[in-house]
């Protein structure tokens, strides 16, 4: 299993029946594949649909129905199409149960940076700041390191996405819960030791007595 699949399968276990969930583009969007339809979860795409479905069969795409990355999607029974004001009203108004986003850095305060690398990448924040500010639960799904550098750091050096402390960070090595006491190591990936996680992490971790292995969907 590759890193991205492992992360997606672990995040999928956070999703409870009946939730309204927004998945970011890229790695977070993989989570939907591991959430059984029987849970009755609705996925929101911020460009204007509640009840996002899988990619349609070849040749049956509708140019009026895409996800926030512009890719063709379908809609599930019970779906609703909404305009951008309603879409962000849901997000900012506390009606969205969970958002899963990618990250560039998460720090010991639980702050997320995920929208800008000054001088290198200035794509704009899109909906990220509203999602992190307003969603009931914020989960960061990201690889533990980029180009050999830990993405879990003492203090974000990149511009923050919001002041809000994120609720959970899931990487291919660990599940980490930011808290008022710091970053608590909650779970290890299968076959990964606490020492290996510590070695791969620049930030200080709070290590409870028992750190179980991840269960995957």
């Amino acid at each position: 299993m590759d890193a991205k699949e492992l992360i997606a399968r672990r995040v999928a276990r956070e999703i409870a029946p009946g939730m309204l969930v927004n998945l970011g583009i890229g790695l977070p969007s993989l989570v939907a594949s591991y959430v059984p339809a029987s849970l009755g979860v609705f996925f929101q795409a911020e460009n204007g649909v509640i009840g996002l479905g899988a990619r349609p069969p070849e040749g049956m795409e509708d140019p009026h129905l895409t996800d926030a990355g512009g890719g063709f999607v379908s809609a599930v029974p019970g779906a609703a199409s909404i305009d951008s004001a309603m879409s962000f009203g849901l997000i900012r108004g506390g009606h969205l149960d969970m958002t899963v986003l990618g990250g560039l850095q998460v720090d010991e305060s639980g702050h997320l940076a995920n929208w800008k690398v000054p001088g290198k990448m200035v794509p704009g924040m899109g909906g990220a700041m509203d999602l992190v500010t307003g969603a009931a639960r914020v989960i960061v799904a990201m690889q533990h390191a980029a180009k050999g550098q830990s993405k879990i750091v003492p203090r974000c050096t990149l511009p923050l996405t919001a002041l809000r402390r994120v609720d959970l960070v899931v990487t291919e090595l660990a599940v980490i819960e930011p808290s008022s006491m710091g970053l608590i190591l909650r779970e290890r990936a299968p076959g990964i030791s606490i020492a290996e996680i510590r070695a791969a992490t620049d930030a200080a971790l709070v290590i409870p007595d028992h750190v179980p292995e991840m269960q995957l969907a």
């Binding site: 795409a45 911020e46 460009n47 204007g48 649909v49 509708d62 140019p63 009026h64 129905l65 895409t66 926030a68 990355g69 512009g70 809609a75 199409s81 909404i82 305009d83 951008s84 004001a85 962000f88 997000i91 900012r92 800008k116 990448m121 200035v122 794509p123 704009g124 924040m125 899109g126 909906g127 990220a128 700041m129 509203d130 500010t133 307003g134 511009p159 923050l160 996405t161 919001a162 002041l163």
Partner: protein
């Protein structure tokens, strides 16, 4: 009040050098493409574009960026159009990046006669720099100003003869909100149907807001 259906070239003639334009669409979905093609053909420059994004080269707003007609962009995301980023870095486009939910609410405030928006989004980030904050019932908010434009260019699914508009699926996006915030509203429907075909409950933009329709695609 609806003034009639125009050919795209005639609609583009209404738009002068340096105009501000709100343009509907999300990555080109729901964008009035024929209107943009006519603007590119007309060649007016110095435009301000207020939109969710600048699509990609060769599509929607991306065509106006590539033709060098845009001097200023107010958008939430330009990441999928490398030409916007290149022109911004070269100093040819002034770019204001706004969180998506804030952008749509600023447009809504402009269109609905409100003095601005109080939002928690952007507090403690670069977005807060230079802005007023206020405390309401113990919570802190950023004060965001309303946005209006000389023209709103709307992409719709159906219009009827008096300009009532209906939209499809994710092609709503910014369109219904922008239709309130443009001084002159030009809508490009995919089809024009007799009055009564769009049920009143399905009208998302009442015709009283629309000044001009584009005639059907030839």
């Amino acid at each position: 009040m609806m003034k009639g259906a125009l050919r795209p070239e005639a609609a583009a003639e209404l738009i002068p050098e340096g105009a501000s334009l709100m343009i509907g669409g999300f990555m080109g979905v729901g964008t009035p493409e024929r209107m943009i093609d006519a603007l590119v053909a007309r060649g007016v420059g110095g435009l301000t574009v207020i939109a969710n994004d600048t699509a990609m080269p060769g599509r929607g707003i991306g065509k106006l960026i590539s033709s060098g007609q845009v001097a200023r962009v107010i958008a939430s995301h330009i990441g999928l159009n490398p030409e916007t980023q290149a022109q911004m870095i070269a100093g040819r486009i002034a770019c204001e990046l706004v969180p998506q939910g804030t952008l749509v609410e600023r447009i809504r405030a402009g269109g609905m006669g409100l003095g601005g928006v109080l939002t928690p989004t952007g507090l403690g980030t670069e977005v807060e720099i230079g802005k007023q904050t206020v405390e309401v019932e113990g919570r802190r908010f950023l004060v965001e100003t309303p946005l209006k434009a000389d023209f709103a260019l709307i992409g719709a699914w159906q219009a009827d003869y008096i300009g009532n508009l209906a939209y499809l699926l994710t092609a709503h996006n910014f369109n219904p909100v922008m239709a309130l915030a443009g001084h002159t509203v030009i809508a490009e429907p995919e089809s024009i149907v007799p009055v009564g075909v769009i049920p009143p409950d399905a009208v998302k933009t009442p015709g009283v807001l629309v000044d001009h329709l584009l005639i059907r695609a030839q």
